[in-house]
């Protein structure tokens, strides 16, 4: 039991650092498959965090949520994304509008921004500011990924990272909402990814490319 307790405490203390590392790595990623693997890793870290919290607060609902995150976000969604990448048979590189170094700088800046954003609420919320800052950093870097990446699938991954951040923010502040709501949110996410995958194929079939920055027919 001591080992489990120790592991839980360590997981709670270090997950923020690991999440920051994934944010920075995702900023430098040059291939979509790398991004998908990093997203899966992020969700795995969050699962570990949820398990640690479930152990510390002794709530069975949290175990269910951890199982949900594991099945849906660590396994199902990345698997679906890999299938889409394979079926698209398109070059797997991310065309980004910023170079790797610039992206890392911006990601680092966003991490710092998230720390500053969390400062004024650290009193009201009385939570682990590191984790909340990590959550905000995920949201901001997800938004940055969506804006700076030109491939459609990269935007989808950015969206998933953003939702990850919001989910983590919910986790750190409230220790989970009623289970029905959590299940509904996951179902929505799954359907959303499915639909976005469908649209990516449609974009490829209609436009012959996957560069969403070239989707500018409708303007004004």
């Amino acid at each position: 039991m001591h080992l489990v307790h120790f592991a839980a405490a360590r997981a709670l203390a270090s997950s923020a650092v690991f999440l920051f590392i994934t944010v920075l790595l995702m900023a430098t990623a040059k291939r979509i498959s790398t991004c998908i693997v990093l997203f899966s890793a992020q969700c795995a870290i969050i699962t570990a965090e949820i398990l640690a919290m479930a152990y510390v607060h002794k709530s069975p609902e949290a175990y269910a949520v951890a199982a949900l995150v594991l099945i849906v976000k660590v396994l199902a969604i990345p698997y679906a994304l890999f299938r889409i990448v394979k079926n698209l048979q398109a070059p797997g590189d991310i065309t980004a509008s910023t170079t790797a170094a610039q992206s890392v700088f911006i990601a680092a800046g966003l991490i710092l921004l998230s720390f500053f954003a969390v400062e004024p609420y650290s009193e009201t919320l009385r939570v682990d500011t590191d984790m909340l800052a990590a959550a905000i950093a995920l949201v901001l870097s997800g938004a940055f990924l969506m804006v700076s990446r030109k491939k459609a699938l990269a935007q989808v991954i950015g969206l998933l990272v953003l939702e990850n951040g919001i989910f983590l923010a919910a986790l750190t502040t409230t220790f989970g909402m009623p289970l029905v709501v959590e299940i509904g949110i996951f179902f929505d996410l799954l359907m959303g990814v499915f639909l976005m995958g469908l649209f990516v194929f449609r974009i490829r079939d209609t436009f012959e490319h996957l560069d969403v920055s070239k989707l500018r027919r409708l303007r004004g």
Partner: protein, 484 residues
């Protein structure tokens, strides 16, 4: 049980679409289920009126506000369904463009909208608002052309991001409620939150933060500027009946969600902050949409910007509050949905007969399509807010409220925007209606069904403009009472 019918009927209808093989059968089944749904809604509204508040289990609940919006949805859905029968005859048959898919997706869409209105729990509300985005994305991209795919993609991405922010706001509200002493298992329940709202006075920061995120999130779905970028594309590229559903029903649905949150926030910390934010969004939407309407070249995009405009006016009404503000805003949402549906139906006819929606290529509509032109004239007179149509009454109410609160800036802004819109629409439509038709469109006569549908719209606008019927007025007042 009463509340389950409006939810189950669309689901069954969507399932039945999988069974029907032939398009003709699909259409008939769709009409049958549509009629069933209208009956179910009518039954629900009747029961709610009798009971005041109708809870059903832990997750469903209906009150005066719900019944008002149910009436709205039922009416528009019936009209759209009848119109779509004729419209679908002109869609090219493709693997995914058959009436089966159309009605299946539309019933699924209706299910999610009904679920938004009938859910008692803010978390479920969020889930189903997101579900409406997912359900309608394929409908927006129905034609599978370049424009449709682009519009569908943008719609999906922008709305999902926006709704994610609304989730964050919901969570912050949940947090504030739990810290304010509400039982965590029911801290997302709207009725519970409303009764516990005075206890949340201490968590001002959290409530304000929650409302900001919710306003941004659901505001994206309503189409507030600057989160509106998806709206013109989606409403323009979708098939006309779906455009009507989006403009008339979906925008109101998102407005409903925002109203629920505003009620809680106002009861807890007063309406100063939330209403100021709504006035900001409303004013911005009204001005920007008004200006952008002048430079539009596509008819349906013009109508989409008009939707943004009118949602901005509704936001101004809510933001003003007071005796007439909320009443006027709800009435405005209702009137707008009818007028916008009428205009989109007309746009559908224009597209069928002229082959294009570019307004510079449409000339002599007055001669070529007399009845549709009449509908266009009625619709445009209604949408700019001229008497004797319904929108005049609602806008007048909102203006009265602005003047009575001595908020002259808001009143002047509203009047200026309305004049701008009037000028823009007059300019565009006059060019379309006058002149000689270049190519005499071999247009079919107006089908009886469409004639009836547009006639019903015009009649409703007329009636609501002259004198609001008693029953409707009491429903409206019940809705306002729920929120105060």
């Amino acid at each position: 049980m009463t509340l389950l019918f409006p939810l189950l009927v669309p689901l069954l209808g969507a399932a039945m679409m999988l069974v029907c093989r032939r398009p003709a059968a699909a259409v008939r089944v769709a009409l049958a289920f549509g009629a069933l749904e209208v009956l179910a809604i009518g039954n629900a509204v009747w029961r709610i009126r009798a009971a005041g508040v109708l809870p059903a289990g832990r997750y469903l609940r209906a009150d005066g506000l719900t019944s008002f919006f149910l009436i709205n949805t039922g009416l528009i859905f019936a009209l759209v369904l009848v119109y779509s029968v004729g419209y679908l005859r002109h869609i090219a048959e493709g693997r995914f463009s058959s009436p089966r898919w159309f009605y299946g997706l539309m019933f699924l869409f209706l299910f999610t909208i009904m679920a938004v209105y009938l859910s008692s729990n803010l978390g479920l509300l969020w889930i189903f608002v997101e579900a409406t985005t997912l359900a309608s994305a394929l409908l927006v991209g129905f034609y599978n052309t370049e424009g449709a795919v682009e519009a569908g993609w943008k719609y999906l991405i922008v709305c999902t991001v926006g709704i994610a922010f609304a989730l964050f706001g919901t969570i912050v509200l949940y947090l504030a409620a739990v810290r304010g002493g509400v039982d965590p298992r029911s801290a997302l329940d709207w009725a519970v939150l409303m009764s516990a709202a005075p206890n949340l006075r201490g968590a001002q920061d959290l409530l304000k933060l929650a409302f900001v995120f919710v306003a941004i999130g659901y505001g994206t779905k309503i189409g507030f500027v600057p989160m509106h970028s998806w709206l013109p594309d989606a409403h323009a590229e979708a098939p006309s009946p779906i455009s009507a559903m989006l403009s008339a029903v979906l925008l109101n649905c998102a407005l409903y969600a925002l109203l629920r949150f505003d009620a809680i926030t106002s009861r807890a910390i007063g309406s100063g902050f939330s209403h100021t934010l709504l006035l900001l969004f409303g004013g911005l939407s009204v001005v920007v949409a008004g200006f952008l309407m002048i430079v539009q070249r596509d008819l349906k995009r013009l109508l989409a910007y008009s939707s943004i405009e009118h949602m901005g006016i509704a936001a101004l009404g809510i933001g003003l509050g007071g005796a007439f503000g909320l009443y006027g805003a709800l009435l405005h949402a209702f009137n707008h949905s009818i007028a916008k549906s009428l205009l989109f139906f007309t746009a559908g006819h224009v597209r069928e007969n002229f082959g294009t929606l570019r307004m510079e290529r449409i000339r002599g509509m007055g001669r070529a399509l007399p009845w549709s032109s009449g509908a266009l004239v009625i619709g445009s007179l209604a949408i700019v807010g001229l008497p004797p149509f319904g929108l005049f009454v609602s806008e007048f109410l909102i203006l009265t409220e602005a003047f009575s609160q001595a908020r002259y800036a808001v009143a002047v802004l509203l009047l200026a925007a309305l004049s701008l819109v009037f000028g823009a629409l007059l300019y565009h439509f006059q060019r379309m209606l006058a002149g000689d038709p270049e190519s005499a469109p071999a247009g079919p006569r107006l089908p009886a069904a469409d004639f009836a549908v547009m006639g019903v719209c015009a009649a409703c606008l007329f009636v609501l403009g002259l004198h609001i019927p008693g029953a409707f007025s009491s429903a409206l007042r019940a809705a306002v009472a729920v929120l105060q």
